[in-house]
Symmetry: C2
Subunit: 161 residues, 2 copies
């Protein structure tokens, strides 16, 4: 019983840590002007709008990785995942990206609520059953753990806007 409770506590803390990073992006959306989003985080480095689009596209990928369905905006892959900033790709408008951010995170949060603790320890969709049997750490929770650090990394850059 104690172990079940510790387990639930840690699963919750892991989810909270990831949602906390998303919340920091929410806060930036409220705080930053369009001019700031369109600026580079440092000379010649990622622009704010690129990092926003990148964050949206990464979270869109989590929908698929956690088995909640297909990506809502697969069109964001080319400009924001497979290619870096300043590679000539046309970006959606800032307003659209902000809308997608909310839309994707709402879908994630709604589905996350439905997962049991056991579900979190099941494989994510990018690992095969065979590989998962050998590497049980490649579970759904591991996606949130790695994406928490990923978002924090880019928040460190967005802080320069």
């Amino acid at each position: 019983m104690q172990n079940i409770s510790q387990l639930e506590l840690l699963v919750k803390s892991t989810i909270n840590a990831w949602q906390g990073q998303n919340k920091k992006v929410d806060d930036l959306i409220v705080k930053l002007s369009d001019e700031q989003w369109n600026a580079d985080t440092a000379p010649g480095r990622n622009s704010g709008i690129y990092l926003l689009g990148h964050s949206v596209a990464v979270n869109d990928g989590i929908i698929k990785l956690l088995g909640f369905g297909e990506k809502l905006h697969p069109e964001l892959e080319a400009p924001f995942l497979t290619n870096g900033d300043k590679t000539g790709h046309v970006f959606p408008s800032l307003d659209d990206l902000k809308k997608y951010w909310k839309e994707i995170n709402t879908k994630l949060d709604e589905n996350i609520k439905t997962l049991s603790t056991d579900d979190w320890f099941s494989r994510h969709t990018a690992v095969s059953e065979e590989d998962f049997s050998k590497e049980p750490h490649r579970n759904k929770l591991s996606i949130l753990i790695s994406r928490t650090s990923h978002q924090a990394y880019h928040l460190g850059q967005l802080a320069y806007l």
Copy 2:
């Protein structure tokens, strides 16, 4: 039994995530020249050496928070924790900071190995027993979870060196 195993897996993943961020700083120590460490990550922003000292001082704080003893280098608090970069504080040399980084992380890793799963769910030293009884998520593991994101945040900035 399944829950105990899931719990151990998740505790291990949480520790690995934190150590993975430290490893990225290790890699930068090998990769970056002194000139790069002494440069600013963006014009007028944190310098590399400040962020290195800040990371060292934060990990030194973890020694105390996890109950492994006193800080090894409390003299780093003033220049790297209570004050920002460019506030006139004299920094230790880069070589000393790199040495402290290894020394502190070695002490952390050695002590971390000795903690049981239950130990990870006990309170960290900055929360009182009374507060902890109401907020059991303020345990030792929560320190690693928050410091993982913190280190990732600054790694995003160090990437600009």
